[in-house]
């Protein structure tokens, strides 16, 4: 049997909290980060609500040299990686540079940066376009910049699968560790809240046009009406159980115990969507049966037919009303590649604190969904194993199983995360 892959550090920036503990406290208290998009005037757009990471000043956290060459999505990713490494307290030099890798996901690239450079292109000509546009737009740039900044020179990669990609990154990071790289930084971050990124998101037809921030994104509700997009994500430090033990890791949040991904059949096919098969395969990968799962963090699209399909997958696999299901992303909006890693972080904190965060806003779930959606207030109960689901537009389905580490757990401090600034 392969050695366990442990999560020993988390860095997270979400619309309802920039910092893991700030986000978690807000999530349990039901504090939302969804509000009218303020980066530009959205009054004439059909969609106006977004989850924004407010008060994020990249210059406070990153060296000046990095600012002209990075989109806000990369700045968020670099800071999340810094915080994850600080949280894991990995001493410089403990791992050789080729023993450390970076595997991230990104769904939308550097929209805001590229929009700014395109504007220069059509107003001032090609010579005015920044040379940094050559990579600042690119899906792989977060992996590259995290690698360069931290001198992680081992196997590294980038995965793109819309909202499912963040889980794919975590799964591939685990695979990378099992192939012999003891420590891998992984996760996903996205941001596309400039006018160009905004219309690109609206074009999906899945965004909520509601204007009441508390009622716009209500996954699994009888009145579900699409989703609100958000920005942000999470970066995790993954390492082998033996590396974590050898360096006396101050905390182990849990184990990445299982992972699987599937692709949907083409539209019109009689075959069912692939989400249930992804969940079954991830459980099989973890060596678990459905009755051993304590909570499911749902993809929670908010689009009624997609909610119905996910509910069918969950109730079909676990049985009707057999497992608590939750979607705290209703407080942040869907963060694309950031959504899965933030759900994994929330699942790990559910294990740590023995509490399942609720799905805020959702009031009435159609009876025929046959799921036990945690609503209103957190549900206190021991959590040992959690299943995290994510779907990406155009057919991606991914599932990750996280599990409490065997043996005595190191209790993590409940103080706010140190937002260590490193320049």
């Amino acid at each position: 049997m392969s050695e366990g892959v442990y999560v020993t550090g988390i860095g997270l920036l979400a619309p309802n909290g920039a910092g893991l503990e700030q986000h978690w406290a807000a999530t349990l208290a039901g504090r939302s980060g969804i509000a009218t998009l303020s980066r530009f005037d959205v009054s004439r757009y059909p969609v106006r609500l977004a989850g924004q990471v407010d008060d994020f000043d990249a210059a406070r956290h990153l060296p000046s040299r990095l600012l002209p060459q990075t989109d806000i999505s990369t700045q968020l990713a670099l800071v999340a990686a810094d915080w994850a490494l600080a949280d894991a307290q990995i001493d410089e030099g403990f791992f050789a540079d080729y023993d450390t890798g970076v595997v991230t996901s990104n769904a939308t690239g550097g929209f805001e940066f590229t929009h700014r450079e395109f504007r220069k292109l059509w107003t001032r000509g090609a010579a005015a376009v920044s040379v940094y546009e050559s990579f600042a737009w690119f899906y792989a740039v977060n992996t590259g910049q995290i690698s360069i900044r931290n001198r992680f020179r081992g196997p590294s990669s980038a995965l793109v699968a819309e909202q499912a990609g963040g889980l794919d990154a975590i799964g591939h990071a685990r695979r990378t560790i099992r192939r012999g790289t003891p420590m891998v930084v992984t996760g996903g971050v996205d941001s596309a809240l400039d006018p160009w990124g905004w219309v690109a998101q609206i074009a999906s037809g899945r965004l909520s046009t509601a204007t009441d921030a508390h009622r716009a994104y209500r996954p699994f509700d009888v009145d579900a009406c699409g989703y609100v997009p958000g920005e942000g994500g999470a970066i995790l430090v993954l390492e082998t159980a033996s590396a974590a033990a050898a360096r006396g890791a101050r905390q182990v949040y849990g184990e990445i115990a299982g992972y699987a991904t599937t692709f949907d059949p083409p539209p019109g096919s009689p075959r069912p969507p692939g989400l249930r098969r992804a969940a079954e395969s991830a459980l099989a990968d973890a060596g678990l049966t459905p009755d051993q799962v304590d909570v499911v963090f749902a993809d929670a699209s908010g689009v009624p037919e997609l909610d119905r399909a996910e509910a069918a997958a969950i109730s079909g696999l676990f049985g009707p009303f057999a497992v608590p299901v939750t979607a705290p992303k209703a407080l942040t909006g869907r963060m694309y590649s950031g959504g899965g890693p933030v759900d994994v972080a929330d699942a790990l904190l559910s294990i740590r604190d023995g509490v399942i965060p609720p799905t805020p806003g959702t009031a009435e779930v159609p009876e025929d969904y046959r799921i036990d959606l945690v609503r209103g207030v957190p549900r206190h109960r021991e959590v040992t194993t959690a299943l995290v689901l994510a779907r990406g537009r155009w057919g991606f389905n991914s599932a990750v199983v996280v599990r409490a580490v065997p043996g005595p757990r190191t209790p993590a401090p409940r103080r706010p995360q140190q937002q260590q600034e490193r320049t």
Partner: protein, 85 residues
């Protein structure tokens, strides 16, 4: 067009590529290698484009890559400005 000074070059570098990693570029440091300030080849490409836009002096990419110090860049730009004035 007036001459390009060390202060001008520092401003352009900061606008294009951010503040230097260590000590700021000043007149007494204009013979240091760009690497000592943390500026890589992309930073200098960006700077060359900005110099052309502001001063009308074209510094080809391959020529820019050969210039190691701020003084070499200033000499090239100012020689060209003198020739065209």
């Amino acid at each position: 067009m007036s001459r390009m000074t060390v202060d001008d070059l520092r401003r352009v570098l900061v606008e294009c590529a951010g503040e230097a990693d260590g000590e700021a570029l000043t007149a007494d440091r204009q013979d240091r290698d760009f690497e000592e300030f943390g500026y890589d080849s992309l930073a200098l490409m960006e700077t060359a484009a900005r110099i052309e836009a502001e001063y009308g002096v074209r510094v080809p990419e391959e020529r820019m890559a050969e210039l190691r110090t701020p003084r070499e860049v200033l000499d090239l730009v100012n020689d060209a400005l003198v020739r065209t004035s």
